[in-house]
């Protein structure tokens, strides 16, 4: 048996898309009595298989709503699938939205600790890396001002710096580099590349085919929750672009 770092088998994720969501007890009881409790099924992922070996870089492509982000959330344990098995062997750093978990009322310094502990690190461990994090984020001059005064780019820097301060086994990135200036984007790209070259496995979502071709070896194309094509990044991206043109 081959060893996979990420092994997804027959993953199905379903949501309730009932247009009138019952979120209070009063309505729930009323509808229960009238037998109007609807469950309108929406299949976000439908029987997706994905086997990734250690050190590979995978790109996910597809139109909006194809299930790319849902798949990333399954790998990073945020969503448990309705059916299927998930095997993930290693630490995961999920960059699904930079700055999730940043408290606007706290200073940048306090947020580095808060964000780091949310990711499951110990306080001492963050303290050791504190200077590196600050240096990478280039926020030295704003360390003690509340984050609510920061621009979205500055928040993204803070989030990226904390999340990538430790080398994870698996890095999950979802369209994160859309904010931030060119210089910082380049810096992020370089950091991701250096992680890749030292053995981190990457799962990357982007609508920018060039960046997928540049970073990834392989790619998966999803459409309405179903896998359309798997192959090398170049093949899949070219096929996808071709399809989008027609």
């Amino acid at each position: 048996m081959e060893d996979y770092i990420i092994d997804l088998e027959n993953i199905t994720v379903r949501f309730n898309k009932a247009n009138m969501k019952v979120d209070n007890l009063k309505e729930y009881v009323v509808r229960l009595l009238r037998r109007q409790l609807l469950f309108q099924e929406f299949i976000a992922l439908d029987g997706v298989n994905l086997k990734i070996k250690k050190g590979e870089a995978w790109g996910l492509v597809g139109t909006n709503g194809a299930g790319k982000s849902t798949l990333l959330k399954v790998v990073s344990r945020i969503i448990k699938p309705y059916k299927g098995t998930v095997n993930v062997n290693g630490t995961v750093a999920a960059l699904i939205e930079l700055g999730a978990g940043i408290d606007p009322n706290l200073s940048a310094r306090e947020n580095i600790y808060l964000n780091g502990t949310i990711l499951g690190y110990k306080k001492d461990f963050i303290a050791e890396r504190f200077d590196d994090i600050v240096e990478f984020s280039e926020l030295q001059d704003f360390l003690d001002s509340p984050v609510k005064n920061f621009s979205s780019g500055m928040k993204a820097r803070l989030g990226f710096s904390v999340a990538t301060s430790v080398q994870p086994d698996i890095l999950i990135a979802d369209e994160i580099l859309s904010v931030g200036d060119i210089k910082f984007k380049k810096k992020c790209m370089n950091r991701m590349k250096s992680m890749l070259s030292s053995g981190t496995t990457l799962l990357y979502v982007s609508h920018n085919m060039d960046s997928i071709k540049r970073l990834c070896d392989k790619a998966l194309w999803l459409d309405h929750g179903k896998p359309v094509m798997t192959g090398t990044a170049k093949e899949v991206c070219d096929a996808y672009i071709e399809k989008m043109k027609s």
């Binding site: 060893d3 996979y4 092994d7 949501f15 309730n16 979120d23 209070n24 007890l25 009063k26 729930y28 959330k73 990073s76 344990r77 945020i78 969503i79 448990k80 098995t85 998930v86 095997n87 993930v88 062997n89 995961v92 999920a94 699904i96 939205e97 999730a100 978990g101 408290d103 009322n105 706290l106 306090e110 600790y113 808060l114 502990t117 949310i118 990711l119 499951g120 690190y121 110990k122 306080k123």
Partner: protein, 266 residues
């Protein structure tokens, strides 16, 4: 052989892995509370004092003859009740207010209600300054039994955590939990003998309050050690610990079983 991770995650014991996060969350709550106003700490003492004075003025004519040192009696009851109800109310929001975070990162979901109850407990300990002031002001005696205060607090803390977990998961599915709970806590306050002596109740009511109301059990223990200067009865301790354990186990179990559905409702 690969490990199936979903079997390893989501249990309550995971909170120990995140214990540094608990410290961060609690210190954030306290920092924000006390940073926002210069009078931060003064308020946490002044508030119970003012409420006590109002209640004292209202009820002293009614019960003063039966209850010696009414201010201390009142303040102990009020402080304990405020801790349990305040902390559970904050714990209820634990999951829903962190929705955006939980959609984007994996964290043990137990952390958020737990942090709210813990910061509520720190607030409660700080607000005991008010009790100290009243004790000195009324020239009440100090008893060695007051040293047993951590035991009473621990029982109430564990009970409150359990109830907090239960309310937090319920609030995810039913956003009107808050209003239902509000009505419930009003009744609960009157059933906790905060401003009246328990022996004015008819027998059947008294049995309910003394045996079926954990908050009253903790108030009674607190009064035993700080107001009467005696040891709580063994029955009371057994009952108090039993309620704490029961609510904690139920709260954790229900929360754990429902947590995978949170993402669909937040």
């Amino acid at each position: 052989m690969t490990l199936v991770r979903k079997d390893k995650s989501g249990g309550f014991l995971e909170v120990f892995k995140y214990k540094d996060l608990l410290i961060q969350l609690v210190s954030r709550d306290l920092k924000l509370k006390y940073r926002r106003s210069v009078l931060g700490y003064v308020w946490s003492i002044l508030n119970p004092l003012l409420i006590m004075i109002v209640m004292y003025v209202v009820f002293s004519k009614l019960f003063d003859r039966n209850i010696p040192n009414f201010p201390v009696y009142l303040l102990i009851g009020r402080t304990m009740y405020d801790f349990v109800i305040g902390a559970t109310n904050k714990a209820m929001d634990g999951i829903t207010t962190n929705a955006s975070l939980l959609k984007k990162t994996y964290v043990s979901k137990f952390m958020f209600p737990l942090a709210k109850v813990t910061s509520g407990m720190v607030d409660y300990v700080l607000s005991l300054g008010a009790l100290l002031i009243v004790l000195v002001f009324t020239q009440s005696p100090f008893y060695w039994t007051m040293l047993l205060f951590p035991i009473v607090t621990l029982e109430a803390y564990i009970f409150t955590c359990g109830l907090g977990f239960f309310l937090a998961q319920m609030h995810v599915f039913f956003r009107d939990t808050r209003y239902i709970y509000h009505a419930f806590t009003t009744a609960w306050m009157y059933a906790s003998a905060i401003f009246y002596p328990v022996d004015i109740l008819p027998d059947w009511m008294r049995v309910i309050v003394e045996y079926c109301n954990p908050v009253y059990i903790y108030i009674k223990q607190f009064r035993d050690i700080a107001y009467s200067g005696c040891l709580p009865s063994l029955d009371s301790i057994i009952l108090g610990v039993a309620y704490a354990a029961l609510f904690f186990v139920l709260g954790v179990t229900i929360f754990r079983d429902k947590q995978d559905k949170f993402i669909l409702y937040i």
